[in-house]
Each structure stands twice: as structure tokens, then as C-alpha cells.
Symmetry: C2
Subunit: 411 residues, 2 copies
């Protein structure tokens, strides 16, 4: 199955902070995803040091077949930012002071009731052999160099500024010269193991898998099954079949997050939602309120971390806490009832567990969480065990809770 | 200033999902950071496709001076995982079924009350030309190939499994052969702009900056100033001077997160903390409870998203909401008072703002947040405007609130 790739690109991120592991390279990921949407395929990411030798060597060794090169990093106002000078010289130009850029800089600071610093003045020096890319979100201009039928886009490493340049200038221009030749569909699943899904699909769709490429991406957010081929109909058809096979475990077909699906489902059903969180410590409410429009469904939510708070705010009986402990089916059931009495919400969600790293026992290990969901007269209590460190445990429990709630309200 | 780099490494992450921008490459960042701690310097990251041609071509073109090559990705149980076969062949070996590995696999699944699937059985085939790296967290074994004085470490792409192999097997072994020759110190700052900090440091320490390399890393979590040189005393000395210069804006010298510093400060001072969150929607409590030991300071916390909830739960007078709106100094002050009445917490934190994308006006734009902190008799209300999208806005506001609280309790 050969896929024709019309336009290809390479991403070079320059920065000692990336190689030192101080900063996560979110730029390469975002740029790749946006470029692919308009039919530009990224074939390689390269991260190199903020040093002349490294920059020149990588430019010297570029793959000839690539159409576009995207370079980020090292354009800031401080002395460790060397990219502009090195690349300008590499392409045979020099940096010249631009009155126009300086005027833009002054305006930029004025709008923010500030004045440019001495370091910022440096940013008005721009190459005389490149096209300028306007930076509406920051002080460093972007640059476009052209050589041997290749275009080199040089941008700041600050994600917010790079994204603005890509969205406002670069992507719209590139979209005119490229078009997708591959059709990519996906199925987003929560709560089933990767190997189970893969085995089921292999068993059920051997013929389809000769025509469509499949890949599985497990993460805290669930498993994403990606399908692609150059025949749109085949790809869509297999998406539908897999979706049917996996049933309710499928929460989306577009990469939309579980929380977004959940919140929008609640909005559509005109439900009110409230949470009583112990071990998740606010992450459930945080997840719900990260979705625009969530104020339509969530009025109030509680973090009852201590036993005393569970009693006072939710009316969990002391006898239950003493007999079964805070991490138990009984306590979570009582939390749910108390939450409903307090809020009258259509959908009540509660969780109590051991986030770790301390507090685990043989009977109740770190990662054990009881999740409760009440939807009108229906109540579900589910036990999960997931231990990948405190932060991940909270994240997974919150996500599992929203998923259980999603399943219950869509029954 | 020449820094002697004893051992160098290159990281190759294999995966179409990385090039497509579907998955963020957290592996390269984490590995780089861990390797540097033991004196192994990563000089390049490469991300390539899950294709024979790409893998072979990158192995053919490796920089001769590199000591170690770390390769992740493509070892999973599904058909899109090709790395093992390609690399084994590249180094002239072949895959053979291992009874020992298969027994380990069966045990791994048994412990989880599961049985291996057909796909998993494939994972008992291992190269006859590599050393095996045990995988205690998953089903794919790691491999170590050796050639031309270089070592190639091949691991799964799942971060949790890769990290376990690195921590349990690879890093301890490498640490014996390497030692740091560079001294890296840092200063973590919140609430000051990068250019202001850079100008101040340049003006005050021109001499020191000829001896110590400095770099600035701005992010949502604040600005990290990194210092390094090959003379430990010089580096430490400048760290101290910068720290003194920037005063209370400095929250850490070790990269410890603001929330961790804040929570541990509260624990040390034996304070109880509670939040009343509107626009941050639980992110403050989530941040606090992400720190181990936070149950010592946080008993309960509230998300009062609707006006009605602000009135009923916190006693915010309707007249204030009508006269000034929910996003106002007056409302946040009333939220603080109500929160204190309800919880009696030593430290009360409240926030109300416009998270966006909708809901902004000319007078009250998206990103406007009022933050209130009450510490015994002291009350501070601060206004911030920060708009980089709903999620970032929530994150920044929650972080700014914890910082204001930190400053107030350490006065």
C-alpha cells in the first residue's frame, strides 16, 4: 500500500534546554499535526544544540527531497539566542537595523503599558536576505529564507508565538500548494486493554487490514486506534466496523477528549452535574470545567479530603468510615447520597482512593479507587486499581469516573 | 568557556504517531534529563518513521563520536511495531523464540489475573545478538546491541515501561562509567517578565557572566534561570547573587514545582488551607493535592461556579454580585470571607474570572481574574490578565494564586 506524499517537511528545534531535558518539545508535535492537516507530511524531527557547528552541520546534511524546513528556537532577547545570526550568515546575508521593526516593537510594548528594554532593541535587527514573518504575540520576528527550491521558516521557540505565526501566516499560504492524499480516521476507546482490542480487530477484519493501515496509541486518555489508507471509503468503512465491534467503549471518532464528549453530552441532555472528590482532589471538576460551556452543567463541586469533611459536608456516617474505611464501596455510596442531598444534581460523581505514594496497605494498595456515580435512581460503584504515580493515579481515576458517568447516562 | 563532555548520547524515537503529531515526545525529554544527571550529554534527538528505510538510514549515518544510542518505540504487541525485527537484522542477528521470556510473560499476565493474547506470544521472540533488558512493567523486552564501541539500547515507546528499564537497569550501569564535568544550578522565579530579569542580571553581573553560561526558560510554571560552568564555585556564587537580586520572586533553586514549595511551606507552618474556586474550576485544589502530604493541610475545598452557589455556599451577598458582577474585587473579597466562615482555614484562597473563550467584554476581557488570599488578619486581592486559551488561563490563574499565597505566608 503505497501512499503518495505530495509535500514533505522536516522540523528542526534548536535549544540546549530541549537536549538537557529541561523543556518538553511540544512544538514539533503541534507543528506536525497542523502540517499534516493541510497535506504536508513531516518525515523527521531533529533537535540540536544552540551552537553554530550543530546548526550549520544539520543544514549542510538536509535530505534533498524535503520541500519545507521549519526551524524554531534561539530568537529570544537574551544572549543565549544565536539562531538569527547564524542562519542569516549561513544563507549569505547580514543583520540590519530596521526602523519599521523597531517601530512595531515600541508599539507592542506600548499596548502593554511597558517600554522596550535594551535586549529588546536587538530584536529590531533583521536579516537582509529573508522575508519577515510578523509576530503579533511577541517581540521576535520570524524569517523565511529560500534556497534550492526549499523554503526555510525560522520562528521563535515560544509555543504561543510560533503557533500564532503558523496559524496566521504560514499554514494558510502552504494550504494553497498542498492537499491531503491520505485519509486518516480514528476511533477513541476508554477502558479496554490494547492487546484485547488488537486481537479482536485482527480476528474480525483480516481482509480489511490488508487495505487499511492500523495503529494503536495507548495513553492515560485511553486508546486511540488510527486508520489510514489512500482510499477514503475503505478507511471510513473499517472505522465504522471497529466502532460497532467495540460498542460503548468507543467515546469519540475525532480525537475529541473524553471530558469534552462527556460535558457536551450532559449539555445536550440538560443535566446538572456535581462531584464529591477525595483522592482525585479537584481533578474531576478541573477536567469538566476545562470544557467551554461547562458552566451550563456544573454549579458547584466539593473536595472532601478529610474524613471530617466527608462527615460534615456530605453527611457520611462516622460508623461507615470506622467500619469500612474512607476507601470503600460503603463510603463512596454515602458520599454520593450526601452529595445529592446537598446539590440535587441530576448526575452525582464521587471518588475515594489512595493516590500514593504513601498510605497503601496489603488490602488497600496505592492506586485503589472506588468510583461512584448516581444518575437519578441508578447507582453504580466501581473499583479500579491503577498505580503509575500520584499524579497519574489522580488523572486516571478522574478520567475513569467521567467515563463511568458517560456510560451510565448514555444507557 | 570550553566544557569537557565525557560521554555523549543520541536519542532516536521511532514512531509514526510522533511524526503525525498525535503523540507528544515526552521520552526524549525525560531520558535527556536523567542521562545528564549522571554526566551523559545528549547531543541530538531524532524522530523517525516506523519504516525500515528510515531506521536503517539513520543507523547508517550516526555521528561517530557518540558513545550511546537510545532507541525507543515499535516494540509493542501489534503489527505496526517493526523495530525489533529491523534492528535485529541490521546488526546481523535473528529473532528466536525464548522459553524463558515466554514464562516471564505468562507470569506477568497471571499476576494481573489475565492470560497472554496471541499478539503477546510474539513478544517471546527475542534477538540472538543482543542482551535482554528486563521489563517489569510491561510485556516487551528491551535489548542492548553493541557495535564499534557503541552501545545501542532499544526500549518500548511506552513512557512508563521505558522509564522503568532506564531506572532499574540502564542508568545505574552507565553511572559507573560517567561523571558530571559541568555544574548546573538554577533559580526558579514566578511573576517577573523574562526581559526584565535578563536586563537586571546583565546590568548587575557583567563579570560573572563571562565565567558562567546563563539561559532563561519561560513557561506557564514561571521562569527558570539556568546557570552552568565547569567551575562549581562560580556557578553557585552567581546563583546566590541572582537569588538575592530577585528576592521573593524566587520560589525554588532546585526545579521543585511552585505547588510543592507552597504545600511544604504550609505543612512546615502547620497551616490549614482551603479554596473557593470559580474560573479555576478545581485546578487550585488539584494542584495542591498533587503534592504528597497535602492531606495534612487541605481538609475541604469548594468549586462555586454559579452565582447561586457563591451565594448559598459562601454567603456572597446578591447585592454585591448585582452591583459589581461575579468577576470583581468585591465578589472575591466576599468569597474569601464566606470561605473562612465555613472552613475556619488559616489560609483561604479564592478566584473568580473569565476563563474564555466566551464571556468577555470590553471592560472585563477573557483572561481577567481576581485572586484573593486571606491569611489570618491579612487580605490581598490581586487582578491579573492572562489570555492564552481556556486551559492555560485556568492553569496560570491557579498558579498565580498559589504564588500570591506563598508570598503572603512567607512575609
Amino acid at each position: 500500500m503505497e501512499i503518495l506524499k505530495q509535500k514533505t517537511a522536516l522540523i528542526i528545534n534548536i535549544g540546549d534546554e530541549l537536549l538537557a531535558g529541561h523543556t518538553l518539545n511540544t512544538n514539533a508535535c503541534w507543528m506536525s499535526s497542523e502540517l499534516r492537516k493541510i497535506g504536508v507530511y513531516v518525515t523527521k524531527h531533529l533537535v540540536i544544540a544552540d551552537e553554530e557547528e550543530a546548526i550549520v552541520s544539520v543544514l549542510d546534511q538536509l535530505d534533498n527531497s524535503v520541500n519545507y524546513i521549519f526551524i524554531t528556537g534561539g530568537l529570544g532577547p537574551t544572549d543565549d539566542d544565536k539562531t538569527k545570526a547564524i542562519i542569516t550568515e549561513y544563507f549569505g546575508g547580514e543583520l540590519v537595523f530596521s526602523e519599521e521593526v523597531f517601530a512595531d516593537l515600541i508599539l507592542f510594548f506600548k499596548k502593554r503599558s511597558k517600554i522596550p528594554s535594551e535586549s529588546n532593541r536587538e530584536q529590531a535587527f533583521i536579516p537582509n536576505n529573508a522575508e519577515r514573518i510578523m509576530n503579533y504575540k511577541g517581540t521576535a520576528s520570524g524569517m523565511i529564507f529560500s534556497k534550492d527550491n526549499k523554503k526555510y521558516y525560522v520562528m521563535p521557540g515560544i509555543p504561543y508565538e510560533m503557533k500564532s505565526m503558523m496559524k496566521e501566516s504560514i499554514l494558510p499560504a502552504l494550504a494553497k500548494n498542498a492537499s491531503p492524499t491520505e485519509f486518516c480516521y480514528e476511533v477513541n476507546v476508554f477502558g479496554l486493554p490494547e492487546s484485547y482490542i488488537a486481537d479482536q480487530i485482527k480476528k474480525n477484519f483480516p481482509k480489511e487490514l490488508t487495505q487499511v493501515k492500523i495503529a494503536y496509541y495507548p495513553s492515560l486518555e485511553g486508546i486511540t486506534i488510527r486508520l489510514n489508507s489512500c482510499v477514503e471509503e475503505n478507511t471510513k468503512d473499517l472505522q465504522l466496523k471497529i466502532s460497532h465491534l467495540l460498542g460503548k467503549a468507543v467515546f469519540s471518532h475525532s480525537g475529541e477528549s473524553l471530558e469534552s464528549i462527556f460535558v457536551n453530552l450532559c449539555i445536550a441532555k440538560k443535566l446538572t452535574v456535581s462531584c464529591a472528590e477525595s483522592c482525585t482532589g479537584g481533578r474531576m471538576a478541573d477536567m469538566i470545567t476545562s470544557v467551554p460551556g461547562s458552566s451550563q452543567i456544573l454549579n458547584e463541586s466539593y473536595i472532601t479530603y478529610s474524613n471530617e469533611a466527608k462527615q460534615r459536608l456530605l453527611g457520611v456516617p462516622e460508623s461507615i468510615l470506622q467500619a469500612y474505611g474512607a476507601v470503600s464501596e460503603e463510603t463512596v455510596t454515602a458520599m454520593l447520597k450526601g452529595l445529592f442531598n446537598k446539590t440535587n444534581a441530576d448526575l452525582c460523581i464521587a471518588a475515594s482512593g489512595i493516590a500514593g505514594p504513601g498510605g497503601g496497605t496489603v488490602d488497600k494498595p496505592v492506586g485503589l479507587v472506588y468510583i461512584g456515580v448516581k444518575y437519578y435512581h441508578k447507582i453504580i460503584i466501581q473499583k479500579i486499581v491503577y498505580d503509575r504515580g500520584r499524579k497519574n493515579n489522580k488523572e486516571y481515576a478522574a478520567r475513569a469516573a467521567l467515563n463511568i458517568a458517560r456510560l451510565l447516562i448514555s444507557e
